[in-house]
């Protein structure tokens, strides 16, 4: 027995006062109504409706049950409706995870704009420089550089290309080895951004020429920290873009960093753009979200917004 249907049928029979009327109202046969009522009565071990072929009268228990059941059915359908409705009109809480530097430089402005369009979506932005488990932590969307997925239950969507620049502070460069081609990099102190998809392999293009440099090659062999002079890559790896920039500004070495994080420093001369004719490969910003047949509209809307927000034109 589909109890919920049986109860709905019972309710309708009581409200319309006849099996036939309920049958027509519900688009069922009289037989089906009869069966539903019988099954419900069997289940409750109690008569609910006394009936002849011409008259019916609700019993005391029937009336009691009707009163209970009506409010229960109403509650349930309102609960259903509120979920279904919320799945069309986006609202509720959107939990976003993002690495700190990107959160400040990129995502926060985007979110501020987003909130203007969808004020009824509450946003909880979590700055996190670790890759956390979205499902375990109940995160709706994570913004990350690199679309690789740790988990097949996640999906990713590319938001934006991030052009990166190779740069260092004048202070570092003053005492540093010469740098005329990418191949010179392993002799330098290279600051690594550990959340990059391949932190130590830096790729550069010049016209059709491609060079992949393992800037970490000398790291483990000669880890001469402290002094920022002479050759050898000083082992410094951070998972935070702001800290990376601070390290570079403190003359610690050369970094490969998203251009947008250092625009001000480059124009002010606090950082120098190195090997400008060698273009690093673009990173990309991805939105990562738990895959689900029924993606929440708030998630869909938010990602759509970000794609639009970051699209070039």
């Amino acid at each position: 027995m589909d109890k919920l249907r049986a109860i709905s049928v019972f309710r309708r029979v009581i409200e319309l006062g006849s099996f036939k009327a309920a049958a027509e109202d519900l688009g069922l046969s009289k037989a089906a109504i009869s069966k539903n009522i019988n099954e419900l009565e069997d289940y409750l071990q109690s008569p609910l409706i006394n009936r002849t072929t011409r008259k019916m009268h609700i019993t005391e228990n029937g009336q009691l049950y009707y009163n209970h059941v009506r409010s229960i059915l109403d509650d349930l359908s309102s609960a259903d409706l509120s979920i279904i409705e919320s799945s069309h009109r986006p609202s509720g809480l959107l939990r976003i995870s993002v690495p700190m530097s990107m959160g400040i430089a990129v995502l926060n402005p985007a979110i501020c704009e987003f909130k203007k369009h969808y004020p009824e979506i509450t946003i909880e932005l979590k700055m996190s420089d670790q890759y956390i488990d979205l499902i375990e932590q109940g995160i709706d969307v994570a913004i990350r550089g690199g679309g690789e997925l740790k988990n097949s239950n996640l999906k990713s969507r590319k938001l934006k290309s991030v052009s990166r620049v190779l740069c260092a502070s004048p202070g570092y460069l003053k005492n540093a080895p010469t740098l005329t081609t990418p191949e010179d990099l392993p002799t330098h102190s290279c600051l690594l951004y550990s959340l990059s998809s391949s932190p130590t392999n830096w790729l550069f293009r010049h016209d059709d020429e491609v060079k992949i440099i393992d800037v970490d090659s000398g790291c483990n062999s000669n880890s001469n920290s402290g002094t920022n002079s002479n050759s050898g890559s000083g082992g410094y790896s951070v998972d935070n873009g702001i800290a990376l920039k601070q390290a570079a500004l403190a003359d610690l070495g050369i970094m490969l960093i998203p251009e947008m994080l250092v625009e001000a420093e480059l124009t002010a001369g606090a950082l120098i753009h190195l090997l400008p004719e060698w273009k690093p490969d673009d990173h990309a910003l991805y939105a990562i979200y738990p895959y689900h047949r029924e993606t929440s509209p708030k998630v869909r809307i938010f990602i759509d917004f970000l794609v639009d927000y970051f699209s070039p034109e």
Copy 2:
């Protein structure tokens, strides 16, 4: 989809935190759990649980729905339980219909005794001298003389034999024709109890001899009312035993009446037992109640009690 089952499954999954645990708890396969959750999500057009093969986390909508649904399920099962329980422990309202004379003479004392045993059953006794429609009026039990049923949705159960006596007042008999055999009755003024199963055909036995007298035979032809003297049956028919007795005491004629209604008058001499060697056929008292596969325990208990109460030993 059996939505109620899907909701129960969802609830259990949330409470146990795993599909497998819920499957074992509910005695279903993991596949069934998975299907139920998927169907519920499809119906609500919204993800309820984000899941990998190892972890699951309830979504915002899922939490919302869970909160609603838990109280709804609890409400429903408590409504069910209260009905099922009441179908075992008799209680509630018992509506009884009975002809007035029997109500006062027979049923009321029985009910007083019944109430001592089942105080939690509320009784509403309706004295009615018409045969009313039990189902239309929402009557649980009617007590009547004669087990004939107007309606196939009713059942009857014999409670008690009612021995009747032929009697009249001395005042009537003083001026009345002679009465030595039942055949003399049509010459008398016979008072009819219209609720009897055959009001005008009075049956008498003497040893193996049976006589059926149509006491109404002369009624329509000579309706000499007013005077209580001489021959011819005066047409008087009542549907109330007390009124019938009052009519006899007022010297209006001869009546065939349940012995128990006139015991006091017979011993006091206010009424005279006529033709004592001719025994009228016994009437019987029946309980009539709406037929239902699931008879209410209050009805069953009450009728059982009456049968026991009226049984001879």
